[in-house]
């Protein structure tokens, strides 16, 4: 009998489904291999049915997207109850993702920005009709802050190879350590085609912004003075951005030995500059104009601080 699988997304862009579709011919095998008992697009009315299921009736649930509304929170909890395994699929579910940058602001600020002072309301009445909108949390949360998560599939989106390997591992029956991130536990440089051009002595007197430079298509991007987070970022993507001649921005998150991705990346980048006097140092960091956006682009909600301080 085929394992029962469920797919659900919280706040995400759809890229993770595209990533599954990018298995191309492989998709049909997947559809064949599992028995899909819950399809995310059907969530509202089927939620009731899921509630009807016995706890643990679903063998494995793949959840992508971060948690940002009360509704998503309920669904995440429901799925946790009903599933033997829950897999956080993609950067948003694992780390909070780019929408997690919303943790630099609040729901109120967002609404004011988009609609001005009188924007949409949680509850609206018009000649007797009542329409409601779900609550937006002030913060975006990675899935494992809402529920315990068994496995993580990293990437924004996960690369086809990572998806294929992950599915194979999970359906194989021989399960890895709970909490495992289903990707190589090494940094991206390991699979970078340019790693041989990586100099022995990393030392910079300033960093460049990517639009200020025409990057050599063969040489280590960090060595060219553009902050590339490859050394801090988990491998498995196949160095896709590097082959696009752009620096790694860290969507695969940290390795297993790093707890706060951005902190570690910052710590490492800051270590390799030349200066020793404070003003010199500040000058060298001039081009890192947005530290949070640079080091926490995908992982702010999963960082130690989680969000900008709420006054």
């Amino acid at each position: 009998m085929k394992p029962k699988a469920a797919f659900y997304w919280c706040a995400s862009c759809g890229g993770c489904e595209e990533a599954v579709l990018d298995l191309a011919e492989g998709v049909l095998d997947v559809v064949a291999a599992v028995d899909i008992v819950f399809w995310p697009v059907a969530l509202d009315f089927k939620a009731k049915d899921v509630e009807g299921m016995e706890d643990g009736a679903i063998d494995i649930s793949f959840v992508n997207g971060a948690v940002r509304t009360g509704h998503q929170l309920e669904m995440a909890r429901l799925l946790r109850r009903k599933s033997r395994l829950v897999v956080a699929f993609g950067a948003c579910a694992q780390l909070g993702g780019i929408p997690g940058l919303a943790n630099l602001t609040t729901a109120r600020e967002i609404l004011c920005e988009v609609y001005g002072e009188d924007g949409p309301r949680r509850e609206f009445r018009e000649n007797g009709h009542t329409l409601t909108l779900p609550e937006l949390f002030d913060s975006v949360y990675p899935l494992n802050r809402a529920i315990p998560v068994d496995y993580f599939v990293p990437g924004c989106p996960p690369s086809p190879k990572i998806v294929a390997d992950a599915l194979q591992t999970l359906l194989s029956g021989v399960l890895p350590e709970p909490g495992t991130v289903l990707a190589p536990d090494r940094a991206m440089c390991d699979e970078c085609p340019r790693r041989d051009s990586h100099p022995d002595e990393l030392q910079f007197d300033c960093f460049h912004r990517v639009q200020e430079r025409v990057l050599d298509t063969g040489a280590c991007i960090l060595a060219q003075g553009v902050p590339c987070l490859g050394p801090a970022t988990r491998a498995g993507c196949g160095a896709r951005c590097i082959s696009g001649n752009m620096p790694c921005t860290g969507c695969f998150g940290p390795t297993s030995h790093v707890r706060d991705y951005g902190a570690k990346a910052l710590c490492s980048i800051a270590s390799v500059i030349g200066a020793s006097d404070a003003d010199e140092i500040d000058r060298m960091f001039e081009n890192i104009v947005d530290p949070v956006g640079t080091f926490y682009r995908y992982s702010l909600p999963s960082s130690f601080l989680e969000r900008k301080r709420l006054e």
């Binding site: 090494r186 940094a187 991206m188 390991d190 990586h198 990393l202 050394p231 490492s268 270590s271």
Partner: protein
């Protein structure tokens, strides 16, 4: 592999009342007992005492403890003690963590409640941390048997001879053209009044002739690499333009110098006499080899000298005016720093008139005046040629003074008494000693003071206000007046004298900071080199294999200096004869499965301890070269670099422990 089930024993020390007075030790112990993994928590009067250590040893066996936390004093004091206790108790010594609730709680806080709370937090942090500790092995580093002794004063000389006599090879490096240091300038030594030269010069020539001593005078250490047991030291030998091996010490060249009169102020005599451009510091100098001073030698300045010195030397050809500085790389296992002191610059206290009035002298100058082999052949004649009828000796110049140095220089009282005696002896002058307190803590010191009292030296208790030539009374005409409040008589006195002697204090040498950096040791606040522990390790530094002797550590007299030099030599010998030293295992290491070969670590390490292995594309740490700072660990972007005893897990656990109920 760390043991599965963690069983922690926590020991909280009273340190007599040192801790217990401000920290509720019982409460801390009871609190510790409630923490996870803690199976036993005790408090005890003195954990470092033998019965205290025995507690640990017993409990390890009887309660199957596999982690130990001791809350007592600074790990710098007793970490080693307790680790050893674990070892004896049959447990890996690194299953241990120490909590500092004395220096960092009981001694610095007054509020008992808060001090106790803090102690509990720190204990909680340690308990969490120690659970992550892993069994570690100390590395062994072989000790190179050769020793570097820096400084050729009495301290360096004594240390060098002690080591050389024990059969060790010593490099004795001295900045000046001769060894002997300050002591060589003295005439007699207190309190025994035996002649300094008679006790020093034999040791000096012993150094010169000792087969196990390589003596490099007129030389400086310019670079130090390596680590305990294996220091690589670069010594720069300044050219004295006269080859030490070829020179027979006949000194004909001095006579032959085109300068018939000596014109250059003689540094050894503190400018009280003149020398030629080619000179020997003093007759008993070791080595007995002249030096040419290029600053003043015509040949060097104009190239137009007849170089009669060279002719005088004849076929010995010892003089080489083209000599270059020579650099020597030597390998030594241990280092003894005996770089000495400098005397306080009396010009810094203008109200005592030094430099303004010719007849105001420093004590060291007077040492030369009373010295038979000095500039005046022992005649005490002043700069104006007269012999003083009355002499005033001012104590504590640049000592015990808020405006200059706060410390007592320890030797001034005694050498002032000595000089008073010698001046009286040489001139029969009337001598006044102006003192704040007379300090005579030493064998035969107080007796010497009594002797001086009997010799009718006048002791005036009071800090001298000024030395002036402003005459208020005909009796003061042409003399120097010392204004002082006589605190015994209780009124201000004006005492006219012919000669004033300033008993200048001892201070760290100007180049002490340089030396400190070269050898990677610390200075105490006043600038003297810092010993590892003022009582338990007075000649050790925080850098293994580097020891201190003499006044570079603090002012002291000759007996103490010699004793300390012997102690330093003994410490070095202990290391050398053991043949190896055990190193802290707190080195970095690469978890290869995680390393992606980004090489960030390599640019972090000042010791080149990290190398890159292209064949496996990973970094690797040479644990002997690694000094365990952990900078590469913090910098490693993928967490592949780790540090024993300072693992991320351990530090995070400590942080959480501190903040758990914050």
């Amino acid at each position: 592999m760390p043991e599965r089930i963690v069983r922690i024993g926590v020991y909280t020390c009273h340190c007599g009342s040192n801790i217990a007075a401000t920290v509720d030790v019982k409460a801390v112990a009871e609190f510790a007992a409630t923490l996870p993994n803690v199976v036993l928590s005790r408090d005890y009067k003195y954990m470092c005492s033998d019965p205290g250590q025995d507690l640990i040893r017993q409990d390890i066996r009887s309660h199957a403890l596999n982690r130990i936390v001791v809350a007592s004093c600074s790990p710098h004091l007793h970490e080693h003690t307790f680790r050893t206790a674990l070892k004896v108790g049959g447990l890996n010594p690194f299953y241990f963590h120490m909590v500092n609730i004395r220096e960092q709680a009981s001694w610095v806080h007054e509020n008992r409640v808060q001090a106790t709370r803090k102690a509990k937090d720190l204990v909680r942090a340690a308990v969490r941390r120690v659970a992550f500790h892993e069994p570690l092995k100390r590395g062994r580093v072989a000790i190179h048997p050769d020793v570097l002794v820096l400084g050729g004063g009495i301290a360096g000389i004594h240390a060098a001879l002690t080591l050389a006599n024990a059969g060790k090879h010593v490099y004795l490096v001295e900045k000046e053209p001769t060894i002997g240091g300050h002591m060589a300038k003295f005439d007699k030594t207190f309190p025994t009044l035996d002649c300094a030269a008679c006790i020093l010069t034999p040791k000096m020539s012993a150094v010169r002739s000792h087969p196990n001593i390589t003596l490099w005078t007129y030389s400086e250490v310019v670079k130090v690499d390596g680590y305990v047991g294996n220091y690589k030291v670069k010594v720069l030998r300044h050219p004295r333009y006269i080859d030490e091996d070829l020179c027979a010490g006949c000194l004909d060249c001095l006579e032959a110098c085109v300068y018939k009169q000596a014109k250059v102020p003689d540094a050894f005599n503190l400018g009280l006499s003149k020398r030629r451009p080619i000179y020997i510091p003093f007759p008993q100098a070791v080595p007995q080899v002249p030096v040419i001073d290029p600053e003043t030698c015509i040949q060097f300045k104009s190239g137009k000298c007849k170089t009669t010195c060279v002719d005088a030397c004849g076929e010995r050809h010892a003089i080489n005016l083209h000599a270059e500085p020579q650099a020597h790389e030597i390998e030594v296992g241990t280092v003894i720093l005996a770089t000495g002191f400098q005397t306080f610059d009396a010009a810094r206290v203008p109200y005592y008139g030094y430099g303004r009035y010719g007849n105001v002298y420093t004590a060291l100058e007077v040492e030369r005046l009373v010295n038979a082999s000095g500039p005046t052949a022992g005649q005490v004649v002043m700069r104006d040629g007269r012999t003083p009828q009355t002499v005033g000796i001012v104590h504590c110049v640049g000592s015990r003074d808020e405006n200059t140095h706060r410390w007592c220089s320890r030797v001034c009282c005694m050498y002032s008494l000595k000089l008073a005696h010698l001046i009286k002896e040489h001139t029969g002058a009337e001598v006044f000693d102006f003192y704040i307190d007379i300090r005579t803590p030493g064998k035969g010191f107080e007796e010497f003071y009594q002797k001086l009292l009997n010799e009718r030296v006048h002791f005036v208790r009071g800090r001298v206000a000024e030395v002036t030539d402003w005459v208020l009374d005909p009796s003061e005409e042409g003399r120097l007046v010392i204004r002082v409040e006589d605190t015994l008589a209780g009124f201000v006195r004006r005492i006219p004298v012919d000669m004033v002697v300033l008993a200048t204090g001892l201070e760290p040498r100007a180049d002490a900071p340089e030396i400190r950096r070269l050898f990677n040791i610390s200075c105490a606040g006043e600038g003297f080199f810092l010993e590892r522990h003022p009582k338990l390790a007075p000649v050790n530094t925080f850098t293994d294999g580097v020891f201190l002797a003499g006044c570079c550590q603090s002012p002291k007299d000759i007996p103490d200096t010699v004793a300390q030099a012997g102690a330093a030599a003994a410490e070095a010998l202990a290391l050398i004869d053991a043949g190896y030293i055990e190193t802290e295992p707190n080195t970095a290491h690469v978890e290869e499965s995680l390393c992606c070969g980004c090489k960030t670590c390599m640019s972090m390490c000042p010791y080149h301890a990290v190398s890159f292995l292209p064949e496996i594309y990973k970094s690797r740490v040479n644990e002997v070269l690694c000094k365990g700072c952990g900078t590469c660990v913090a910098a490693c972007p993928s967490g592949a670099m780790r540090q024993n005893l300072f693992e991320d897990d351990e530090i995070f656990a400590e942080i959480e422990g501190i903040l758990t109920n914050a």
